[in-house]
Amino acid sequence: MQHSKLLETSVGLFVALGLVSLFFLAMQVSNLADVTGDARGYRVTARFQNVGSLKVRATVSMAGVRVGRVSAIRFDKESYEAVVDLTIDPQFDTIPSDTTASILTQGLLGEQYVGLSPGAESEYLKEGDKIDLTQSAMVLEQVISRFLFDKAENGDKRASETPEQTQVTPAAPVASPIPEAVVPGEGAIPDVQQESAPAGAIQ
């Protein structure tokens, strides 16, 4: 009996150890703590011309702080637009109804997320509302070709003045892992590239 008690105890410890490991991986290593908040919250929709490579469960952030997640992405075959459902955490219930939603990239090659920039309305977004002002995902090829095109057209004009370029360097929602590398001379692109390369390599 003594023997089987020892045996059962050790098996119990083993199972507990395994479960603790799983729990550790879930809570400490992964983003489960963030994901579980999803179930609650209210849902708003936004229409985009192009969502790029935005994925379900991507971050929705405002001023660099995560306020919700993308809960669904559909295609509207009438208007040929992408319809994105955003689930906003319930505590962020004072988002103005004329807020702009843009699809941004974490670094040049990083994951895409939805950034909200607040408007000025006194009415707030609530369950089932639509965000009317949207800005589509940046498509890298288009940006580069525009950049080269502009460069060729007006040689001395700075490329970074084109409107798309401003999207390339958003305030990253997650604290940037790398101190801003100061690259002399060149415009925004080399700067961003350096910042995002390692993050992209992890994907």
Binding site: L13, F14, L25, V29, A181
Partner: protein, 261 residues
């Protein structure tokens, strides 16, 4: 009589198919017999001890060293890009997605799988299985099913342990020895490692490996030629086939889970 190569290939294929078929019947029988285990959890517990608890040490020590090596190597590469802070991501992603399930499965097949094969093979050689049959006890239910389910249940736990200890090892080397920022190590990891994509998929992988490795181990033992040589060959086969099966399935599962990203 010389065989031509095609005849040999054909015979090899037919034999492999036959063996696969027998292994499937065997497994169906074991699964049917698993209902008994619910009534007698004690059998499962004692096998969990031999299969799971006895593998904890080797899995934990290996996990620690693998994590430390990842920390060291990852730091060397990432620091070239000034991206040491993403070390945690690299270590955790490698462990949770690949190394945890795969290395644990390989260790498990060497530590527990070979022991299962040898034990069952020896029970067959010494007529213990036949003896049970004559006592109207189905050895598949009494001997094989508890061992099989103990292996299947232990593997995800061991893989999780491996990954956790590995992350600790990476943390120890990265933050403790090489001076990566503590907060960045964890916050980057939490931001990049997805619960469903990475953790759940890793657990699914290790569960599949658990089925595959234990299935091979118990079947090779049960199918062993009942001689000393037969058992030793079966043990070798068990480890070799397990390694092939784990790496092959790893590719298939990785393609299914991470392929569409």
């Amino acid at each position: 009589m010389m065989e031509n190569p095609f005849q040999r290939l054909g015979r090899f294929t037919l034999e492999a198919m036959q063996k696969l078929g027998r292994a499937n019947f065997f497994m169906a029988h074991v699964l049917l017999g698993s209902v008994d285990l619910l009534l007698r959890p004690r059998l499962l517990i004692s096998q969990m001890f031999f299969v799971g608890v006895m593998s904890v040490l080797i899995v934990a020590v290996s996990g620690l060293f693998v994590g430390m090596v990842l920390g060291l190597q990852g730091y060397n590469v990432l620091s070239d890009f000034g991206a040491e802070q993403t070390l945690g991501v690299m270590v955790a992603a490698s462990l949770v997605r690949e190394l945890g399930p795969v290395v644990t499965a390989l260790l498990f097949s060497g530590r527990a799988g070979s022991a299962l094969t040898a034990e069952i093979g020896l029970m067959k050689t010494t007529e213990q299985l036949a003896g049970m049959e004559m006592m109207a006890v189905d050895p598949l239910r009494r001997v094989v099913a508890p061992r099989f389910f103990a292996g299947v249940a232990s593997m995800p736990l061991l893989a999780a342990l491996f990954s956790m200890v590995g992350v600790m090892g990476g943390y120890f080397v990265g933050v403790g020895l090489l001076g990566v920022d503590d907060g960045a190590f964890w916050s980057q990891m939490v931001a990049k490692i997805d619960f469903y994509d990475d953790i759940v998929n890793g657990v699914i992988k290790s569960a599949v490996f658990g089925v595959v490795v234990t299935w091979i181990a118990v079947y090779e033992g049960y199918d062993a030629v009942p001689t000393a040589e037969g058992v030793s060959r079966a043990t070798t086969r068990s480890v070799v086939y397990s390694a092939f099966a784990v790496l092959g399935w790893d590719f298939v599962l990785t393609a299914m889970m991470f392929g569409d990203h």
